[in-house]
């Protein structure tokens, strides 16, 4: 009942926030329900038993038996950290948005709807339920970009909606095909995720259908992550989205794609074409290499951060591919755990970065790097936070991002040596654009044209400091989270043929 309780609290909270008359009421509803959800997810985290796998907090109720749909939820070492991440980021977002002035009741309600639907995506174990949440995520984000967004919000909101919706419906066709062929073969029509995934390995499928199913799901996830070249909706959406929208978008929404690779594609790869492993690795590599090139040329600090997300998500594809490829068990598990850790770490780091971009825009009135300069002189507290955020993003040791990316690179090297060597090229470039941006924006002489700027407010500082603290804690002591992920990677590796999949 724990998961359902959490979902119900978030849903009720969003309704309460929507119906409330004043900002204070809406904020109270949002803070109470999102922090309650956070407490529940921490409770789940502490009571997680690695040996039980997906049976942790599992709930199963028949829902639409006529076509084999059930309300089936549960968490394992892949999804529970994602639930926790969603809860942390949403809860801190309600603090960050403390003084949202425009239509604040709707704003807080939409944050909670996002929290609700994202949590739902990560806990669903039925494809129908999963798809409902997967699509439901788009609606609040569409409104957040559209109502509170910047000048080109119409274009960005609709581009975001259509682009990701196309990917979702293609994925849906893959789900249909899996459902149909499973039912045709076994006589039991069901949308249950564990059943369909384990059956996919033994289904006698025509090659066309087999590859189609895998490719359809992969496409759905690659667009969400996003991987270059399916990334073009992301910079637009970020540039126009309000800060909290960007935080939720980059912090959690992109993680749905990475999560999908783990939950669905790893169990399916043995029966699909093995070329897909290299396809996934290449998508990751291209994203990693493309990012610094694009980021160097961005005048807008928020767009720069948006591009950095794409590169970080590339490490997840890389880790997943390295996990599937043939090699020793130890490095493969290491790569996969690293990739899962990256899902979590990047969510927190990017929240700090987008939070910083939001503070810059809010306090100085511009996001163009050239118009900034010397912010450290007027905003020392802010400078401290943004520097830590940028260091974490470029993979500074002792911080969460380093743990993740180091594990992915080290664990992937034995399986995919050439790809990793090329990927390493991006590291100096990545450090370069991070430092260059921060040098121009935060250091140097103060740009007098900005007038008088004030330092961060208490609620901005509280939310940002919490994220930074988490980054450092996870960087120095990753063990509790990392172990949980590793336990799941160990379970996944038993699904694959021993020794991985040779090309």
């Amino acid at each position: 009942m724990t998961i359902s309780l959490m979902l119900a609290i978030l849903l009720l909270g969003s309704i309460a926030a929507f119906l409330s008359r004043t900002r204070e009421q809406a904020r109270t509803a949002a803070v109470v329900s999102s922090w309650t959800a956070l407490i529940i997810s921490i409770f789940m985290f502490l009571n997680y038993e690695p040996s039980k796998g997906l049976n942790n907090f599992r709930e199963f109720y028949s829902w639409i038996p006529s076509i084999g749909i059930s309300y089936h939820v549960g968490v394992d070492g892949v999804s529970l950290p994602m639930v926790l991440l969603t809860a942390i980021i949403s809860a801190l977002c309600t603090i960050y948005a403390w003084e949202e002035k425009r239509r604040s009741n709707q704003f807080f309600a939409l944050i909670l709807v996002m929290d609700f639907s994202l949590t739902g995506v990560f806990v669903s174990l039925d494809f129908f339920l999963f798809y409902i949440f997967w699509e439901l995520v788009l609606i609040p984000m569409f409104f957040i970009i559209g109502i509170w967004g910047g000048p080109r919000k119409d274009y960005s909101a609709i581009k975001f909606l259509i682009y990701t919706h196309v990917a979702s419906v293609v994925m849906l066709l893959g789900i249909f095909a899996m459902y149909y062929f499973h039912g045709k073969t076994t006589g039991a029509y069901t949308f249950d995720i564990p059943v369909l995934l384990s059956a996919y390995q033994t289904l006698p499928l025509a090659p066309l259908w087999r590859e189609f199913i895998f490719a359809a799901l992969l496409f759905g996830f690659l667009v969400k992550m996003p991987a270059v070249p399916f990334h073009t909706w992301l910079p637009d959406a970020h540039v126009e989205a309000p800060t909290v929208g960007s935080i939720l978008l980059a912090g959690v929404l992109l993680k749905m794609g990475g999560y999908g690779l783990f939950r669905f594609l790893i169990p399916m790869i043995p029966n699909a074409s093995h070329l897909f492993i290299y396809a996934i690795a290449l998508f990751g590599l291209v994203s990693i290499l493309y990012t610094p090139v694009a980021a160097f040329t961005q005048p807008d600090i928020k767009k720069l951060i948006a591009f950095s997300s794409i590169g970080h998500m590339g490490f997840i594809s890389l880790g997943v591919a390295a996990f599937m490829a043939s090699g020793e068990e130890v490095p493969r598990i290491f790569a996969a755990s690293g990739a899962m850790f990256q899902l979590f770490a990047h969510g927190i780091i990017t929240s700090v970065l987008f939070g910083s971009a939001g503070i810059i825009e809010h306090h100085t009135g511009t996001r163009i790097i050239q118009n900034l300069g010397g912010l450290a002189k007027k905003m020392p507290k802010f400078a401290f936070l943004i520097i830590l955020g940028f260091l974490a993003s470029m993979g500074f040791p002792g911080m969460a991002g380093f743990v993740a990316e180091f594990s992915v690179l080290a664990g992937s090297y034995p399986q995919l040596p050439y790809i990793i060597i090329i990927a390493l090229l991006s590291i100096p470039l990545s450090i370069g654009y991070h430092l260059w941006a921060i040098q121009r924006a935060v250091f140097g002489a103060y740009n007098e044209r900005l007038g008088s700027v004030t330092d961060v407010t208490w609620y901005e500082f509280a939310a940002m400091a919490a994220w930074v603290l988490l980054i450092i804690t996870l960087g120095l002591h990753p063990a509790p989270l990392f172990e949980m992920m590793r336990s799941s990677a160990v379970q996944f590796i038993n699904i694959l043929p021993p020794g991985g999949i040779a090309p």
Binding site: W63, I64, P65, S66, I67, F128, Y131, I132, E135, L136, L138, I139, F142, F143, G146, I147, K153, D154, A157, I158, L161, I162, H165, V166, V169, V170, L172, L173, F176, A177, Y179, Y180, W209, F212
Partner: protein
């Protein structure tokens, strides 16, 4: 006691005459609207009370001319619900109109005609029902006598409709000529036994019948009248046309065409697939270009006709996906009827604020000026777009699933991409409503419109969250027809 199954139709006919008579005597004609609503509720309860039936009325006095089965009852519920929504909305739209009595009479006769088509097991009965519905909706489409657009739309609808009736009748006469019977089931048996001898005439007959139904369904290339008529008609009548009359075309086509098709074993799935693809694509592409919400909804319902037409291709191609396809089509007809009817009612509600209620610019800031209408319309547009957790999502889900079950992957891909494309023009209206600049202060919203829309929205959301009962009904109904 089985005659009780025909009670809903009898209630409608007697109340329609009652309304006409009452109109002669009473001054406060608004009461007629309430009488109509009460009658529709009674009819709806009668249908709901006898859902899982199969009564063929063999022998005197009907001689199997009608059959009341769960498929017919499914569509009867659809027609009655649409009529109910239209009548509730009409309390506001025609609340002060002196000829309300005629209006409700025509709506009732149109609904009776649609219900007759749903229960017809005989081509003559089917044709009579078809004409009953057509003739009364011709008059309804031009009910605002002073509107030029209304007159143009009604005239177009009448001319196209008259032609389609003639074509349909010719097709029926050819089919009768081959088989010597007008009973649909007997005709099916005859064709199954003697298909080879009459193949060319059977194809011609079927083409003509398809054309006749195609006009009502607004399948491309028989769709030309729809946008002009929906735009010109009073909004509540556009709702009746798009939600009710159009679905009558589908129920007729499923009754007659699929049975005959299965009997003749024509491998025509490709033709149907192309028809479905062209209809949905053209509808969606043209809907994107519209600046009038009513025309946009008209093209969107053409696109939805294309989705429903997927069922024809699937049933023609694969017998093991037929049940899913037919159930999906029936449910999609229902979800589209609810959504499009209340979207047109929302357009009528906007008409209270601006005289030109269909221009897209007039939806700017509706979320502020008329928040309830805007919210309800948003839910309905999301249902049309197939976004969960609405009923529109579930029905598209089942419909597209059937295409995969038939292994028609190309058709499925085109259909989902079309559906994704359609999100654009629905979202555009939502964007206008929520982040356009309001032009006026907050206005008082009409309780009649809001009630009608709330009923539809509540049904849509409940069925979206818990579709199991309706899904089982629809599957059972599909089985009843295909058996």
């Amino acid at each position: 006691m089985s005659y009780l199954l025909l009670a809903p139709e009898l209630v409608l006919i007697s109340v329609s005459i009652l309304v006409l008579l009452l109109g002669l005597f009473i001054k406060e004609k608004k009461i007629l609207g309430y009488v109509s609503i009460a009658a529709l509720l009674v009819a709806l309860l009668l249908v709901l009370g006898s859902f899982n039936v199969r009564e063929s009325f063999v022998g005197y006095p009907f001689y199997s001319a009608v059959v009341v089965d769960s498929f017919a009852q499914f569509f009867n519920i659809l027609f009655l619900t649409v009529a109910l929504l239209v009548c509730i909305a009409s309390l506001e739209y025609y609340g002060n109109n002196p000829s309300q009595d005629e209006y409700y009479f025509l709506v009732f006769i149109a609904t009776t005609g649609m219900m007759l088509v749903a229960i017809a097991n005989d081509l003559i009965v089917l044709f009579i029902g078809f004409e009953l519905a057509s003739l009364s909706t011709y008059a309804l489409a031009g009910f605002d006598k002073n509107s030029k657009f209304g007159a143009e739309g009604a005239m177009k609808y009448f001319i196209f409709g008259g032609l389609s009736s003639a074509v349909l009748l010719f097709g029926i006469s050819l089919a009768y000529g081959i088989s010597g019977t007008v009973n649909i089931l007997e005709m099916k048996e005859f064709l199954a036994a003697h298909a080879a001898r009459f193949e060319s005439i059977a194809i011609l007959a079927m083409l003509l019948i398809l054309a006749g139904f195609g006009f009502k369904m607004a399948l491309v290339p028989f769709h030309m009248w729809a946008p002009d008529t929906y735009e010109g008609s009073p909004s509540v009548i556009s709702a009746l046309l798009a939600a009710g009359s159009k679905k009558m075309g589908f129920v007729a086509a499923f009754r007659v065409f699929l049975l005959a098709l299965i009997a003749v074993k024509l491998q025509w799935y490709l033709a149907f697939a192309i028809l479905a693809v062209i209809t949905m694509t053209l509808g969606n592409v043209l809907a994107i270009m519209q600046n009038s919400v009513k025309r946009m909804l008209a093209y969107s319902s053409i696109a939805h006709a294309g989705y429903i037409a997927i069922a024809f291709a699937v049933i023609a191609y694969s017998s093991n996906a037929a049940q899913t396809a037919l159930a999906g089509a029936a449910m999609h007809a229902l979800s589209h009827a609810l959504a499009t009817a209340s979207a047109f009612i929302a357009v009528a509600a906007v008409g209270l604020i601006y005289p030109k209620n269909d221009i897209l610019e007039n939806y700017d800031g509706l979320g502020k000026t008329a928040p309830t209408t805007a919210l309800l319309m948003t839910v309905m547009l999301l249902s049309l777009a197939g976004i969960p957790p609405t009923f529109g999502f579930y029905t598209k889900f089942v419909l597209f699933l059937s295409a995969i079950q038939a292994e028609l992957i190309g058709l499925a891909i085109i259909a989902v991409l079309n559906s994704a494309l359609s999100v654009y023009y629905y979202a555009r209206v939502i964007m206008r409503m929520y982040w356009g600049k309001p032009k006026t202060e907050k206005v008082k919203e009409s309780p009649a419109y809001v009630t009608a829309m709330i009923i539809a929205v509540v049904i849509t959301v409940i069925l979206g969250l818990y579709p199991n009962p309706i899904s089982e009904w629809a599957y059972g109904a599909a089985e009843a027809v295909l058996r």
